[in-house]
């Protein structure tokens, strides 16, 4: 490569980089506006989740109340049915009226056991219903994760950071270029009709550029 051309190309590249330093203005603004849009969306999600959770709480309260009423209703019906059945049993003398208190104790024990279950579960019965409901916070958490990323994208980098990044770019470009030049030298050295002086010069160049050793 013409040394003059190489000399002008790299600084020109650096100049381009410098011109474009801090020039992500539109991208930063776009990320910032997107973050604002996300904020609106998150607000909407918050309201929606709040409305849904209210709905679930109301549903759980209604269901808890309904379950308690059903349990009472069931006991009342069972009472009627038992009295009906026992009356026939006494008429048909299947049951002994003399043992009515013993039978009453059995009935009371059954009733007690059922009521006890309710007492024990009564701490927060609505939880039974709420636990069956899928949690809605996941969507909000995902939106929050996106918000953090957008915030990083909208953040203006410091001049020092940008200079460092440009330095990295130029370094990477030089490395790539060296790799290509070394490949070219290696390819030229493989030519059989290469004059001895040129071959020696290229070998020296390869050594100077610290090109990796090639298999002959």
């Amino acid at each position: 490569m013409n040394p003059l051309q190489r000399i002008t190309a790299i600084p020109a590249l650096a100049l381009c980089a410098l011109i474009s330093t801090g020039c992500d203005k539109d991208a930063l603004a776009f990320a910032s506006r997107t973050a604002k849009l996300l904020e609106d969306y998150r607000g909407q999600l918050t309201n929606e989740i709040s409305a849904a959770e209210d709905y679930y709480r109301r549903y759980a309260a209604v269901e808890t109340d309904s379950a308690q009423k059903r349990a009472s209703g069931l006991q009342a019906v069972a009472l009627l049915e038992t009295a009906d059945k026992w009356s026939i049993d006494y008429i048909q003398q299947v049951k002994d009226t003399a043992r009515v208190r013993e039978q009453l104790l059995d009935a009371a024990t059954t009733h007690f056991d059922e009521t006890q279950k309710r007492w024990l579960n009564e701490i927060d019965q609505s939880r039974i219903y709420l636990d069956r409901i899928e949690k809605l916070q996941a969507g909000k958490e995902k939106a929050e994760a996106l918000a953090k990323l957008l915030e990083s994208l909208a953040q203006k980098r410091s001049l020092a950071t940008e200079a460092k990044e440009i330095g990295k770019f130029i370094e990477a470009t030089k490395e790539e270029l060296d790799k290509k030049i070394c490949e070219n030298i290696a390819g030229t050295l493989k030519q059989t009709d290469l004059p001895a002086d040129r071959k020696a010069a290229l070998e020296q160049l390869s050594k100077d550029r610290k090109c990796p050793a090639q298999n002959s």
């Binding site: 013409n2 980089a17 011109i19 992500d24 269901e63 994208l153 770019f169």
Partner: protein, 413 residues
């Protein structure tokens, strides 16, 4: 376009003409933008409304299960209340009155109290609005198709590349001509061979140079494409992200479709309820007819059902009357099993349907945000992925060297 200074000018021009963009690729920003895109896609792939709809299905199932349990308890309670024939009659009359009262619309949930006529008229309006929006959408699509694509710099480079290809053909022809140069009698055989060899060497060098130029042009072409991509991705981030949301017409169409779906479901529920209530009313009328056929006296009406049945069961001659009474009791039991619970069940279904509609309508607005956010994240990712990469610059600089320096040295050595 083929001088090194022009290439650097190209980079400079790109940087100068687009002062608000960064033309150099930045791996860290690219990764960050890609992560952002992934996060935006995550939001759109698992919308909140989907979870809400699943929850509503769970709630609906639970509430219907509770209602069914209630019906069973009420049925058992009704059967227990059948002490006298009058009790049985009163119990069924009570259910009939309940149905009449509810059918009169006294206990219909206010938010779903739209009349059938109102629903029909709304549905017709929706149909007209949807048709108008569909027509507007088709017109917009047709206009968009008319937009012609512009000629790009990379296409011009392609033409140059083709011309170089033609030059290659010319070289191949020259090589053939050189091979066929007849020996000049004035020259010695050795000299003639030397001339031919010189021409062949020169042509080989020129051919190599042309190939390198071709590669260089290809590189410039790729670089031009990259710059076009940078400019295009830059233009795409100069808009308001909110403008990336679906058009108001599209949102309106979506909302109308959701509303149409809601009305369709509500209508289906009401039709179903109408049939269920009609069936219960039919059973009640049949019960009343069967009850009349028993020809109960006032004393019979107040007699215990069990005692009445016992008196009839004692003789075969009363079998007809016994069957009549049992048919009446069985009908009363069936009505008790159906009872007026249909209304409660339908209330639950309509209430859930209404909530489902609310969620579905909300999801249209959410989806508009999700589409805009996803599109914005895609644009940011495309922008940060579009910069000129170190490999491209290195390749270009390398091509500049090999295209114009090495062939020159080779030819003039």
């Amino acid at each position: 376009m083929t001088q090194p200074s022009n290439y650097t000018l190209l980079l400079l021009a790109a940087a100068l003409t687009s002062p608000a963009q960064n033309i150099l690729y930045n791996q860290d920003r690219d990764k960050l933008a890609k992560d952002t895109l992934e996060a935006a896609r995550q939001i759109a792939s698992a919308p909140l409304s989907a979870a809400e709809i699943r929850n509503l299905a769970t709630i609906e199932q639970n509430q219907i299960q509770s209602a069914i349990e209630w019906y069973r308890i009420t049925m058992r309670s009704n059967i227990q209340s059948f002490r006298t024939w009058r009790d049985a009659q009163n119990s069924i009359n009570f259910i009939a009155a309940e149905i009449d009262e509810r059918e009169a619309g006294l206990q219909v949930a206010p938010r779903v109290a739209a009349t059938a006529a109102g629903l029909t008229s709304r549905r017709e309006n929706l149909k007209t609005q949807i048709n108008n929006l569909v027509k507007a959408g088709e017109l917009a699509k047709a206009n968009a198709a008319k937009t012609a694509s512009a000629t790009t710099p990379s296409s011009e480079l392609k033409i140059i590349g083709e011309r170089v290809g033609q030059f290659e053909e010319l070289l191949a022809f020259a090589r053939k001509v050189a091979a066929g140069i007849p020996a000049n009698p004035a020259d010695s055989n050795q000299a003639a061979a030397g001339i031919r060899e010189d021409i062949a060497t020169t042509l080989t060098s020129v051919e190599k140079a042309v190939k390198d130029i071709q590669k260089g042009i290809q590189e410039v072409g790729e670089l031009a494409t990259t710059i076009e991509t940078i400019v295009s991705s830059w233009e795409k981030i100069r808009v308001d992200p909110a403008s990336l949301a679906p058009s108001p017409d599209k949102i309106a169409l979506e909302l109308l479709q959701r509303e149409a779906e809601f009305i369709k479901n509500l209508t289906a529920l009401r039709v179903r309820r109408h049939f269920e209530v009609a069936e219960t009313i039919k059973l009640i009328r049949r019960f009343q007819a069967e009850f009349q056929r028993n020809r109960f006296s006032t004393a019979d009406l107040d007699s215990e059902i069990t005692a009445d049945l016992s008196s009839l069961a004692g003789s075969a001659s009363f079998r007809g009357a016994l069957e009549q009474r049992l048919r009446t009791l069985l009908l009363a039991a069936h009505i008790s099993a159906r009872q007026s619970g249909d209304q409660t069940m339908n209330d639950i279904r309509e209430s859930i349907e209404f909530r489902r509609y609310e969620v579905s309508r909300q999801s249209v607005y959410n989806s508009a945000y999700e589409v805009a956010l996803s599109a914005a994240a895609e644009r940011l990712a495309a922008y940060y992925a579009s910069g000129i990469k170190p490999t491209q610059v290195a390749q270009l600089v390398y091509q500049l060297g090999t295209a114009f320096t090495l062939p020159y040295i080779a030819v003039t050595k």
